[in-house]
Subunit: 247 residues, 2 copies
Amino acid sequence: MLGADASSRLEACGLAPRDAAIVVHHLAQADAAGKHGHGLGRIPWLEGLLGTAVDPAGQPERLERTEGFERWHGRGALGYLTLDAVCESLLADPPAHARLVVCEACFPTGVLGAWARRLAGAGLVAVVTATSPRRLPHPSGGAPLTGTNPIAIAVPSSDGRPFVADVSMGAVTHGDVLSGAAVPEDLVPFGGAQAHKAFALAAGVELLVGALAGPAHSAVVVAARPEHDPVPAFRALASGRRLPGDA
Amino acid sequence: MLGADASSRLEACGLAPRDAAIVVHHLAQADAAGKHGHGLGRIPWLEGLLGTAVDPAGQPERLERTEGFERWHGRGALGYLTLDAVCESLLADPPAHARLVVCEACFPTGVLGAWARRLAGAGLVAVVTATSPRRLPHPSGGAPLTGTNPIAIAVPSSDGRPFVADVSMGAVTHGDVLSGAAVPEDLVPFGGAQAHKAFALAAGVELLVGALAGPAHSAVVVAARPEHDPVPAFRALASGRRLPGDA
C-alpha cells in the first residue's frame, strides 16, 4: 500500500489530514525498518478501530505538567497521536533532568522504539513502555495475563547513531500469528526454559503501567537529559558487532 | 555465617556499626529469599573490597534534589549503603508524582528487588536498575560487553502483597559460576535462540545508566505514586499461579 492511499483511507474514516499523516508516517517508518507487523498493512485493522473503539476526532489532552511529570489522556484518539503529541511536548520543553510521562488510554502505540529513537535523536535518554491486549500466559500455562508489553530504551550518541533497544516480551508477535507465520501456542513469554524472566518483565510492565495509568491500555515514557556519552565507546568495545537498533 | 559474626567482620574492616548493620540486614534478607549468591556468603568478598575499591568510611552524598530528580554519589561507600540512603530519602519525602534518582558510583547493589520491594511496601511504584562488571557477551560471541544489569519492578498492593519482579539478563549468575554450579560459558544473555532480546535489555540498561551516571558501576531508581491498584485483580486473573516475588 502506498502512503498516499493509506492517508486517503484514514481520512475517509474521519481522521484529520494532519492526524492521518502522523499515523502513516509511523507505519511507513515501521515498514522501512522491516517491522511489517506494525506497518501500512495495519490500515484495514485501523479502519475497523476508527469506527468502533477509537474516535476519529479524538485529540489527546495534557492534563497535568510539572518539570518532572506529565499526565496525558488519549481522549479516544489513536495511541500513535498521543505518543506523537507527548514527543512534541517533551522536545518543545525538555526536562532539565528527568520527566516521567503517564499516557492514559493510549492504544495502539506501534513501534515503541521509534518514539524512543525520536527523543534520543533530539538528545534525550528515553524509555518507553506500554500495555496492550492480554496475549501472554503464565509460563506454567493458563489464560493470557499480560500484553506483549515491550520496553524500548534509546540513548543518544555523539556519533549521530543513537542506541535503540526495543524488546517485546513475546516469543513471537501477534502479527506473526495473524499472518500465519506462527501459531497461537507460540505466543508465550520469550526465553524457552527461562520464560519466567520475560514473564516477570511483562507482568512488571503490566502492573507498573496499570498502577500509574489505570486499566485501559496505556503507555509510560521516561525522558532524561544525559550527562555522559557512553555509546561510541560501547560500539568500539563491540568491535563492529551489530547493536540493537542498528540498520 | 551468623549475622552477628558478619557484622563483627565488617566492623573489623572499618565499617561503622550502623553501616555494617545495613549491609548484614540486606545479605540476610537475600539468604532468607533463597538468593544465596547475594547472601552472607559474600562477606569474604566484601572484606576484600573494603580494603581496596571501597572506602569503609565512605558515606553516600545527595548532590542535588528537586521534586522530580535526585542525584547521589556513592563517595566510595558500598552500594548497599547508597541504595539504603536513597530509599530512606524517598520514603522520608516521597514524590507527589514521580522522581528519577541517579546513583553514581554505586556498587555492589545486592538484590535490586529488595530495594524496590521496600519502596513498594511504603506505597510507591518502583523501578531499580544498575550496572555491574561486564560479564555478558554479544549473542554472536566476543568479549563481555555488559553487566548482568537486572531490572526490578515493584508495585504496591492493597492486599499487602506487593508484586516484585527482579530479572537479571544473564542465563546464570556470576555467583553460580563462582560456586561451580555453572561454567563461565553459561554466563550469556538469557533466552537461548532469543538471547538477542535479553542482550538488548542488558545493553539498554548499560547505556541508560552510563548516560545518566557515568562509567563507574551505578544505579538508577524511578519511584512514582500509584493512582490505581491493579495487583489484586491480576492475582485473581492468575488463579493462584505463583507471581514474581511471591514467597
